[in-house]
């Protein structure tokens, strides 16, 4: 007998559709199907049980990512002792059941059903885009359909018009069989409920929104409907254009920190489509509009295809060989060090590149530059997470898997907007909310999770920007003073003296919700309700984003969150935990890989002589014992004239960092700026050396997502300029006189494993075997650690931290009476370098300033008006969007377009512990204007000049010298 415990992954083939979702039950049931015995978990459908046995029952409306629906009736079976022909998708297995899946009666029944379907279906199979990948065609074949007795002349849907409004897929209702898979995918998988079946009986048809074109409906273009469509009704336009792909490679998305697995479906070296991979443990076959569709940037005409150099930034670029570019960069960097000292140069690692590439860049800086002047974009996003979680829990990472949210009873989301910034996880949260979990949102904005269709109870604490710590203290005050603590957990797991100090501090009256109401602006009663829900309503899980970290007390807030989790025992098991939602695809990895100036890979401090000795031995150099400069310190030193050279890999500091004019002044002061990127980004306009970067499609490596999951990135096409980013860094290191000779990224990972205690057990072989690994992965946890801190903390006992609220210096005044806060939207990603070069631009062509109706009315502002936004450091102009989502007194914008200059206004105010910029609080004034700001005019001029210098680049004789660096 085949005994099958369903959730056991290895036996399942992610490329097969088992018809209905797995049943999660420990009890099993035995039955026989077509004479074969099988034992499966209770609750499994007959269809799935048959599928596991390798018996494919014909089906059309069933899919294993959707609940059984039972509408097509094609999966009918005969069950001994039961009447009729039940649908096997909606029939659960029963003990002793005997099922027949094929006999004459069933064959006739299925043929009749198919005959009806086909009588209202265009028979253009040979020219249909789904040819070769059509379930309807397959089923017609499987049931042996040979004739359609009804003819094709009757009333039909063949003339229905195609909706081409979405840039990525078309909707051709003439081919629709009304199986409802798209509607159910939109509801069950994505949670948007944009699709519905309109009309009844023969008039039933799929409709987006209220019979609108897809683009005008609530559709978020996640692609779940397209993926589930069994015909070519919903079809990728790229497949319509190119035809069916012929091979595919599983890889990891390079957009947000969710780290979805995709099958890159290829024709030769042409990427036809990205299909979310069911075997991916972060996304289980779901995707968002960015990862699924926005990959066109990889082959965009703006890609930098040749290495280029120039003497100064006013000169045109000169296209040169790799050899010349690398030698030029190396000699300039060496000359700079000779003149200004060892510490006068540094580098920035990329949170978009792979772990292996990031590791190499920081190694190059520490070993070849001989200093610790390395930093990464996490400086401006999650550096407070590193500091705060390491101080309290002992490890700089989130504690859970994404799936853990399915066990959470109370979900607290602080300063994050998952449905926009981490859409696939956002969909998972919505699934749990539909199952009845409580939601607590702490955010100045009314985020979309609060509007989850069919969601449960939700509490929104709309606090004033900059008052997070006051809020978290008030929540903790309620938990302590109302006796809601988990004393057993605290006694068993936490340091008692620090706990006592914290407890004494937190229960002071000044931390009460009533006392803090004046600070946060949130009614005390609402805060008390939220605290009680988190502490007492089952498993409490906290998810947070940049609304927590990007504040002057970002690190304090992270510690406050850890305090809450420790005080309520919400750590160390499924369904609970403290979870930073990471921004970029590999920001967790870039932090893990030693990108910070004070830490070697694995968060090992450079001041520790034992650590330095271990690295020194393998690297063959002495490592500086003092931390290096952080990005903002580098800028200050550059302006002061002591920092003169910078190597930047895949990071656009000129657009993403605060106080743009300060950054521009710093970049202009450099003698040697080496930028390695796929485009001429804003930073590259200040560069002397431009090295072509490679996209995630062009190289091998790994990314680590927000749940510490190490996922493989696999090369599907050659790098446009011949070298992958890791090869370029190697070449630069060799030219600087520090030898690096890796033949494949797997060898770099082996070195990482050798030096990083949390990566000891990681290897490409194991990744191949397991699919992905969540660190720590070592002798203690050979297959990785989905949940952290189950038994103890890496520092032994958890450490409560006293979290005094200190108001930010960035305050509103009469001159700057509003607070500006910044964020992201679904269709664009970070600085937009990738998404702006795709059709995603159609959803968000420009950054807008959202303003509350009352603030707008006071200033006579209407939708679409041009607004001048000024802060104490700068001024820019954006168009207005009047929005109820905002609190009065708070305005909001995104920073996806460089010309918007959102960061011209943001200031150098930063987190006290890590210098993470306070992007979320800038005091501003807003007024109607008629022309762009001075900075914007300067930007346009400079941009035009730099584009020109690139277009007129002098192309010398191209020497194909790639082989030298391989």
């Amino acid at each position: 007998m085949l005994q099958y415990f369903d959730p056991g992954k290895p036996a399942l083939n992610p490329d097969l559709d088992y018809g209905t979702p797995p049943a999660i039950s420990e009890a099993t049931v035995s039955l026989s199907i077509d004479g074969y015995d099988i034992e499966v978990p209770e609750g499994t459908s007959v269809l799935r049980a048959a599928s596991i046995l390798g018996i494919q029952i014909p089906k059309l409306c069933a899919s294993d990512n959707l609940d059984a629906f039972g509408s097509c009736r094609l999966c009918a079976v005969e069950i001994e002792g039961r009447r009729g022909y039940p649908a096997s998708c909606t029939t659960p297995v029963a003990e002793g059941m005997s099922v027949t899946t094929q006999n004459g009666k069933l064959a006739k029944l299925r043929r009749n059903i198919m005959e009806l379907y086909i009588s209202d279906h265009p028979l253009d199979c040979l020219t249909c885009p789904a040819n070769g990948d059509c379930e309807l065609q397959d089923m017609a074949g499987a049931v042996g359909l040979r004739e359609v007795r009804y003819g094709f002349e009757g009333e039909n849907h063949l003339a229905a018009e195609t909706d081409d409004s979405n840039p990525y897929f078309s909707f051709d209702p003439s081919k629709c069989i009304v199986c409802s898979r798209c509607v159910r995918a939109c509801e069950e998988v994505q949670g948007t409920f944009a699709l519905t079946i309109e009309g009844r009986g023969f008039d039933s048809k799929v409709s987006a929104g209220q019979s609108e074109p897809f683009m005008d409906s609530e559709c978020v273009s996640c692609g779940a409907c397209v993926q589930s469509c069994p015909t070519s009704t919903l079809m990728e336009k790229s497949v319509i254009d190119a035809g069916q792909p012929e091979h595919s490679v599983v890889t990891t998305c390079a957009y947000c920190g969710v780290g979805c697995s995709f099958k890159a479906e290829m024709k030769g070296d042409q990427l036809v489509r990205m299909v979310p991979y069911k075997g991916g443990d972060a996304n289980h076959g779901h995707s968002c509009v960015k990862g699924r569709f926005a990959f066109g940037y990889a082959t965009h005409k703006d890609r930098i295809r040749e290495p280029m150099i120039r003497g100064s930034i006013s000169e045109p670029w000169r296209a040169v060989s790799w050899d010349e570019a690398i030698s030029f960069a190396a000699s300039r960097l060496k000359a700079t060090q000779a003149r200004y000292g060892r510490e006068s140069i540094g580098g920035i690692t990329s949170s978009r590149c792979t772990n292996e590439e990031t590791y190499l860049v920081q190694k190059l800086i520490r070993a070849a530059f001989g200093n610790n002047n390395t930093d990464t974009c996490a400086r401006v996003c999650h550096s407070p997470t590193g500091y705060g979680l390491k101080t309290t829990l002992g490890e700089s990472a989130g504690t859970q898997t994404f799936d853990s949210v399915m066990e959470a009873d109370t979900i607290m989301v602080i300063g994050a907007n998952p449905t926009d910034a981490h859409p696939v996880f956002g969909s998972q949260v919505r699934r749990r909310l539909r199952q009845g979990a409580k939601l607590i949102v702490i955010d100045p904005r009314r985020i979309d999770l609060l509007k989850t269709p069919h969601g449960g109870e939700a509490i929104h604490l709309p606090l004033r920007p900059g008052t997070n710590v006051a809020m978290v203290n008030a929540l903790a005050y309620v938990i302590v003073t109302e006796g809601l603590e988990d004393r057993a957990f605290i006694e068993a797991r936490c340091d008692q003296s620090q706990y006592a100090a914290w407890r004494e501090f937190i229960q002071q009256e000044r931390n009460s919700p009533e006392a803090m109401e004046a600070v946060t602006g949130v009614p005390a009663d609402l805060v008390r309700q939220a605290a009680r829900a988190y502490a007492t309503n089952g498993n409490g899980a906290i998810y947070y984003g940049l609304g927590v970290t990007e504040h002057s007390q970002g690190s304090t807030m992270v510690m406050g969150i850890a305090n809450l989790a420790m005080a309520t025992g919400n750590l160390g098991r499924e369904g609970v935990g403290v979870n930073p939602l990471r921004g970029q695809n590999n920001v967790q990895g870039s932090c893990d890989m030693g990108s910070f100036p004070h830490e070697l890979p694995g968060y090992q401090h450079v001041g520790d002589p034992d650590v330095r000795a271990r690295f020194g031995k393998v690297w063959g150099v002495a490592i500086d014992e003092e931390p290096g400069l952080r990005i903002p310190n580098m800028f200050d030193a550059a302006i002061a004239g002591t920092f003169k050279g910078l190597y930047v890999q895949g990071e656009d500091i000129a657009q993403s960092d605060p106080n743009t004019q300060h950054v521009e002044a710093a970049l202009t002061s450099l003698d040697c700026l080496v930028v390695q990127d796929i485009f001429l980004n804003e930073t590259a306009k200040y560069a002397h050396v431009l090295l072509p970067g490679s996209t995630f499609l062009e190289k091998d490596g790994t990314f680590t997502n927000a749940e510490r999951r190490i996922n493989r990135v696999r090369k599907v096409m050659a790098p446009v300029a011949g070298l992958a980013d890791w090869e370029v860094t190697m070449a630069l290191s060799n030219a600087l006189g520090y030898p690096m000779h890796y033949r494949h990224p797997s060898e770099i990972m082996d070195e990482i494993a050798q030096l990083t205690p949390t990566f000891t057990g990681v290897s490409y072989d194991k990744l191949e075997r397991l699919g992905s690994i969540q660190w720590p992965c070592n002798d203690e946890h050979p297959e990785g650690s989905p949940t952290m801190h189950e038994v103890d903390f890496p520092i032994g006992r958890g450490r409560f931290a006293v979290t005094e609220y200190v108001a930010t210096e960035e305050r509103t005044t009469r001159k700057f009476p509003l607070v500006l806060t910044t964020g992201r939207i679904l269709s664009q990603y970070n600085v937009g370098a990738q998404t702006r070069r795709t059709e995603n631009e159609r959803w968000h062509e420009e950054d807008l300033l959202e303003i509350h109706p009352s603030d707008a009315e006071l200033r006579g502002i209407r939708d679409g008006d041009w607004l001048g936004i000024s802060s104490r450091v700068g001024r820019t102009v954006l168009r207005a969007k009047v929005s109820e989502r905002m609190l009065p007194g708070v305005v909001y914008t995104t920073f996806h377009h460089p010309g918007s200059g959102a960061n011209v206004i943001t200031t150098d105010s930063s987190d006290w512990a890590t210098n993470c910029p306070e992007y979320k609080v800038t005091a501003v004034q807003v007024e109607k204007v008629s022309q762009p700001s001075q900075w914007q005019r300067h930007f346009e001029d400079f941009d035009e000049r730099q584009q020109q210098l690139l277009e007129t680049a002098i192309h010398g004789e191209k020497t194909d010298d790639v082989g030298v660096f391989k």
Binding site: R342, A501, P627, T642, V806, W912, A913
Partner: protein, 78 residues
Amino acid sequence: MSNDQLHHLIVMVNQISSNLHHTGTDDEAAEAVAGHLKKFWARSMKQMIIEYADQDGSELSPLSREAVAKLQKPVETV
């Protein structure tokens, strides 16, 4: 050294002090601030703030001044 650069360092150390001032006794708080600087500040930044404290120090908060006094001037190595 530029004034801007020094000004930023003074703001930074004072900000660290106001966030750590409640750490135990005054001396423990100064140790905490000094420990933070030791762990996270680059050599050149430490040198600058120590020099400033020696020569002027007027813009440092009392706790910052005590903390910087506890900080050892980093030596040139490597």
